[in-house]
Subunit: 321 residues, 2 copies
């Protein structure tokens, strides 16, 4: 870390930047027929998400199939996005890889590009690793990037990554790097875990995002910062409405409506289902394809999903190919 | 695929190369104090392994902490190894990554370098993926590499990768790419699974390697090709002896001796334990360090391990720093 960066870090002069809150979408990654990432469709979708009330773009998350992309492919897509004029202050790239050196490289790039922060998976190949080993992984990345502008959001998604964050690990990280470790996305699907993290850390300014809008109202009522949710890719406006109106008498009803839409989507593999919805709405079937090992939603399943969403009165205003 | 490569593939002219059999070590990766891979120590260890009777070097496996290395770091290490004059016909690099493009890149590099084959993990980030999605992952890699020289060994290690190979998936791959899909390493730890793979595929020339020498004798008795085992890093000569003498009356006794050494090592986290053994034998403490998220074996544990190995009469002839 440079002397100047260290001074800025110590003095906290970077700590006053506005922090993310509200609804973030882990942005779907469109692919061309040769399975290469499609930057043009990606940028259009990002613009639409921001127009719908997304507070930020959690590009390169699980829903983005980020781990199915090489480091170079992620760097190129981020470059295209920011080159298209998207405000980096609204971008929260996923940068946590299995390899320390990859995580450092992507995190460094995000900081240099002045992104709002990074959403960091733990290294997820080895299972049952120690708290000490995970602490060292994050400490190495933070020290190597060595930049007061870095804000790390811990990405807890044990159903997929298998490797997660214990409360003890979060405590060690927050204690060691209070200005850098800024929050968490909890995709455990377990409200008790989210609540425990809120109870332990929210009052000290640690921003907990629910990993699903199912827990948005509960999260906000307990001091959480919002949600980072896959379905934000298609239902951001409605989710943002609950974020803005959670203190009103309508909140419970809005939460129930969100749950109904999410329930319809969750009957299917979520990433292919979301891609099928965007493909239908934009009239652009190219959107349907994921990268292997994921497969596109079969036509009949997509029809059933779209029919159920129509019955729920679901709409995606202003989205076009 | 070029016309010439396609012709070679179709005609099977590449299928007559000698195939790997015997004992392979998933080679430990040494790190410098800055956690960068240490090519000089790596090459020395590889030479020693071959001198001990290893039939091949399964570099960049789980024991190698390969997923803790970037693609560039793996490419550089492979280049150093072959540049040092190691026969590529004895090298079986791990090339399976989460991202299709990374797997293609590493596999292509291995084929260009005339490696014996590649050991390929399935993409392991998403869990519960479909057989179709996994089939497409492997088919895409094989088609994109498009080289008759490619030999793919499927790497089945569900305790770590979580994503594995069903018998149906193996059957689809062997049927679609009979000259390319050459075998499997079964690290399930479940002999019934290994036996099922042997029963289904061994007679058609599919080489099944046990993922542990515990199953070496059983594997050879059922038509298997050998084993690719972590402990090959320290006990290759003894494991190779069982491979050479498995038809003799001594075989059961040799198997029991191997099991005792393995049992001593398995009381500890295996990768740090193996590194502690190599560090002790070479008198080179630099060997002890893994990359995060793994941590080195604590000193007291290392002492206990070494004492137990001494009681078992364990030796590592000719290994020096």
């Amino acid at each position: 870390m440079s002397v100047r960066a260290r001074q800025a870090w110590e003095s906290g002069s970077e700590a006053d930047r506005p922090r993310l809150s509200g609804v973030l979408a882990p942005v779907l990654t469109p692919f061309r027929s040769d399975l290469s990432p499609d930057a043009a469709r990606f940028v259009r979708h990002c613009r639409w998400l921001l127009s719908q009330g997304c507070a930020g773009l959690a590009v390169f998350g699980t829903t983005s199939e980020a781990n199915s992309l090489s480091v170079e492919e992620r760097e190129a897509l981020l470059g295209e996005l920011l080159g298209a004029g998207i405000d980096p202050g609204k971008v929260l790239p996923g940068t946590g890889c299995c390899a320390l050196t990859d995580t450092v490289r992507l995190t460094h790039a995000a900081v240099r590009a002045r992104c709002a922060g990074v959403l960091m998976l733990p290294p997820f190949y080895y299972k049952g690793v120690s708290e000490e080993g995970l602490f060292r992984s994050f400490a190495e990345v933070i020290e190597r990037v060595g930049d007061a502008r870095l804000r790390v959001y811990l990405y807890h998604i044990p159903p997929v990554a298998q490797v997660g964050f214990s409360q003890k690990l979060v405590e060690r990280l927050v204690t060691a790097y209070p200005r850098t470790v800024a929050g968490m996305k909890d995709s455990s699907g377990d409200w008790n875990n989210t609540k425990a993290m809120l109870d332990a850390f929210a009052s000290s300014g640690f921003d907990v995002f629910a990993g699903s809008e199912r827990f948005l109202l509960a999260n906000l009522r307990h001091g959480g910062a919002g949600c980072i949710t896959a379905t934000g890719n298609v239902n951001a406006a409605a989710i943002d409405r609950l974020f803005r109106e959670w203190r009103t008498p309508r909140a419970e009803q809005l939460q129930e409506e969100l749950n109904a839409v999410r329930g319809a989507i969750e009957k299917h593999p979520v990433i292919p289902a979301l891609k099928a919805i965007v493909a239908n709405q934009t009239g652009d079937p190219a959107w349907r394809a994921p990268r292997p090992p994921l497969v596109e939603l079969p036509g009949a399943q997509a029809e059933a999903l779209l029919a159920e969403l129509r019955r729920l009165g679901f709409q995606m205003p202003g989205l076009s190919g």
